[in-house]
């Protein structure tokens, strides 16, 4: 039954190509397969930009003292895309950056898999660092993605970023 009530939020409705098109245009999308970092990076190439900063959030083998086996991310795709667009728009207002892209992966992930990728390009370095961190923090705070961690004893729990 758990699989049933969550199966909708473990996959996306859009095709992979649509996802990258939306990510390039709006700066944010959800994806349900491995994130192609090179494809995103190429999208950000710009000869006027001297700085590229990226963040990759990877599944750790532990959370606090507990050993993590794997985890599953669930997403509310349509709200995520609308909210993500607003976040990237706001980032471009707040920071002197040229472009930014973030993608969050949903579904079952293994230790080492990339769950989120944020890339920013700008003429100078500090705005790229500042915007990348701000986008990441804001995505973590506002994008409707949920996470269930599975432990070695097969138990699991829902996590939350703000307690």
């Amino acid at each position: 039954m758990t699989d049933n009530v969550h199966s909708h939020s473990m996959t996306i409705k859009r095709s992979v190509d649509e996802v990258y098109t939306i990510a390039e245009r709006d700066g944010f999308a959800l994806l349900d397969v491995a994130i192609d970092e090179d494809r995103l990076k190429k999208t950000l190439d710009d000869d006027s930009c001297g700085a590229f900063v990226c963040f990759e959030g990877r599944v750790r083998n532990h959370n606090n003292a507990t050993s993590v086996d794997r985890l599953t991310y669930y997403g509310y795709e349509d709200l995520a895309i609308n909210q993500g667009r607003a976040i990237i728009e706001e980032a471009k207002k707040r920071f002197e950056i040229t472009h930014a892209i973030a993608i969050h992966r949903i579904g079952a992930l293994e230790v080492g898999d990339v769950a989120i990728w944020v890339g920013v390009v700008s003429a100078h370095r500090y705005p790229a660092f500042d915007a990348c961190r701000w986008i990441l923090d804001t995505v973590k705070a506002d994008i409707p993605v949920w996470k269930q961690e599975y432990y070695e004893d097969d138990s699991s729990k829902w996590l939350s970023n703000n307690g």
Binding site: M1, T2, V5, L79, K140, P144, W146, L159
Partner: protein
Amino acid sequence: MNTTDVMDNIDVKKNNESLITINILYFASLADEAGCHEEKVSIDSSMSLIDLYTQLSQTHRFSRPQSELRVAVNDYFAKWTDLISDGDNVVFITPVAGG
């Protein structure tokens, strides 16, 4: 899709003209507790989003108080004071955990 109708559990007015039907999506722990991903409910058009969550909480025994949640209407975050219209998609958002 596991859709249930909890309309019987909702305290609606007898006057059908004020009734609207909305669609609720559940994610994460709310989906676990509701036992479904989606349900249609008929409510009085004057019902507030807070009252709607309170009603659904009683039906599904949601453990999260409304104060810990956000609400989205038609795929955008909404205010708890926003009005609900017929055909709206309403989603209660438990604390998120992306990244």
